[in-house]
Subunit: 356 residues, 2 copies
DNA sequence: TCCTCGGGTGAAAACGTTTACACCTCGATG
DNA sequence: CATCGAGGTGTAAACGTTTTCACCCGAGGA
């Protein structure tokens, strides 16, 4: 058995109430007793039992994070951002991914009841309705990259539309009249918004559009590879490819290289997300930069605010802006700046070292 | 206030003990009452309060995961593996990264006391001593990629030595007499083991070794870029570069390309980890494959066993084998198989879709 | 002198469970 | 018929906190 507050109280010659007051510094305690209690607690290696604590206070100092999957750099960045601010506020992180269907999400949601003070949820499967019916009554929640209806929830989204629009406008402005799109996963909200931005940019730029220019994809490298081959078979052949994310763009680059096409000479390529590797592929990949960890950090900030303010908290939806990062693959720049090298731009790397 | 067990008991016309028995199916309950209780519980949306539960049972159904950082694909893969098996056993995941120094780790360790049933720890800073003095008495723990002394702890390690040895032996066998090493981060255990493997392979293969062939690196792309430039300046110039991880190898490829060197023609390159992107860079990267998610999964299995068996559990240390993956960058194969394409090999991708 | 006030403290209730123990009722066994 | 065992159930203690309330004591104001 671990040492309890009673034990500390006994040894310090005070009541448990006083010890409790010291540890939460609530209520007045004389400087003398405070010191004595601290000394005893340290000697005994006392740590308050968090279960007992959260039983009585009904707070857990933990936030739950529900993700559709834990695959790839995107998610590790999100979690990183969340963890950073959670830790700064003294909160723990209860992470869960890998729920393939709605039922699994609902189970998970319920099993988190009582374990967390709030929830950050990112899921393409999840609409607001599934949340309202499964959330323990008014548990604060922040939606990440979810299609959101009305203002029933706090929500944070990447400006998918704006980013895609900007990139495609850029391509069109540099003379590309036929720009193919490699679409993201079917039911995915981000994918849909990026497609919307693509179409709007073509229209506003006066470029050609046709159904056949929009190629199927699922956000993975292999689908980008396949789609690029399809693009090459189109008649007339497009002069640029905009992929809905970088992984697919990299798959596409790989296919183009094998087909002997020069990039950007015969085919311009651009992606979305600006993953770290983007600047190290050949040719370096133009992309739409998204501060993913920032997304996580803000979501967490928002959640903690909601937890602390509870009733006063005003729900709102917000969009995270994106930024165009032009490198070699779109052929629109001289290639002087932003070369891979000793001082890469992008989110600063942590000092901590790791093996990959 | 949420609905409690008392409420359920009252409405079902039984005592709380019976309800408890139903929910834990411990003890005998007639089929009739069982059904009635389930019905009432469902109608009331009752979920047991986990704080109260773990207060009395002193179990939490959660495992803690302490990582040096949450950066990059390596960690997302580890967590993925852990999460998969944790979920299969009904455990939650309390994740924490971003502790830069030993003091932070210790704080974090202590603050997890009472919140988790066991700990998975991966940290270059952490030696066994720091654990023993800060862990709540005999909380089960599994060490991941940590230097481990004696058999005081369960530990899981990648076969860094073996993987590096195999790759470098391969290079040497194909005629490379001068093979440069881009080292990993200074104090990192994986880095040291890979270096050891490199040296042993050179020695056993009868190839040349000198201090100057070992170039500084820190596992990040940018350091690989820098180190490759240094390698080019060596006299005589090496004909192959072995990087301690793929990120640095990719940085090196980028530097070589800019310097106008052909890979693998004038310089062979190989990495370690086999991250997904490795097969999509130009030229595709030969690497040492590590089933990272498997590493996480096994660690979690091991931990849960330790939690459940408690006293009977036998501590042991284990090494996860690696596998050579030869692609274009080392120039040792004809290039027919393992081309980037519609059916990439490597760990199967999940069905779940994501935006990056 | 009496009252008030506030800093410092303790006793005890409450939080929502699990579980040891006791009880009852049957049917079977002696 | 007495005894036993077992299935089914309830009572109440325990888990380790926080927090309300009350108490004590000394200083200051009337």
């Amino acid at each position: 058995m671990a040492v309890t507050i009673k034990e500390v109280a006994r040894r310090a010659g005070v009541s448990v109430a006083t010890v409790s007051r010291v540890f939460n510094n609530s209520g007045p305690v004389s400087e003398e007793t405070r010191r004595r209690i601290h000394a005893v607690a340290k000697r005994l290696r006392y740590t308050p039992n968090s279960a007992a604590r959260s039983l009585i206070t009904s707070r857990t100092s933990a936030v739950g994070v529900l993700l559709p999957d834990l695959y790839g750099e995107f998610f590790s960045e999100v979690i990183r951002g969340i963890d950073r601010t959670a830790q700064a506020h003294g909160y723990h992180l209860l992470v869960s991914g890998w729920h393939n269907d709605r039922a699994a999400i609902e189970t998970m949601l319920r099993s988190m009841r009582g374990r967390v003070d709030g929830l950050i949820v990112m899921s393409p499967h999840l609409d607001a309705r599934a949340l309202t019916t499964n959330l323990p009554e008014n548990l604060p929640a922040v939606l990440l990259n979810c299609p959101v209806e009305g203002d029933a929830f706090d929500a944070l989204n990447i400006d998918n539309f704006g980013g895609a629009y900007e990139m495609v406008r850029h391509l069109v402005a540099h003379g590309h009249r036929r720009v193919a799109l490699i679409k993201g996963a079917e039911a995915n909200h981000d994918a849909q918004e990026r497609q919307r931005g693509y179409r709007a940019a073509l229209r506003d730029g006066g470029a050609e559009w046709s159904e056949s220019l929009e190629l199927a994809g699922d956000f993975k490298e292999s689908s980008g590879y396949r789609a690029a081959l399809e693009a090459l078979a189109l008649e007339p052949r497009p002069t640029a490819i905009f992929a809905a994310n970088d992984s697919m763009a990299i798959g596409a680059l790989s296919a183009l290289r094998e087909s002997g096409l020069s990039v950007p000479g015969e085919m311009a390529v651009a992606g979305f997300d600006d993953i770290p590797i983007a600047r190290y592929v050949t040719p370096s990949l133009s992309s739409v930069h998204v501060a993913i960890d920032e997304l996580g950090a803000r979501a967490c900030d928002r959640l903690i605010e909601a937890v602390k303010e509870k009733n006063r908290h005003q729900r709102r939806q917000e969009q995270l802006p994106t930024r165009l990062v032009l490198r070699d693959s779109c052929g629109c720049r001289d290639g002087a700046a932003d070369r891979a090298g000793p001082t890469p731009e992008g989110p600063a790397s942590p000092d901590e070292l790791h093996a990959m």
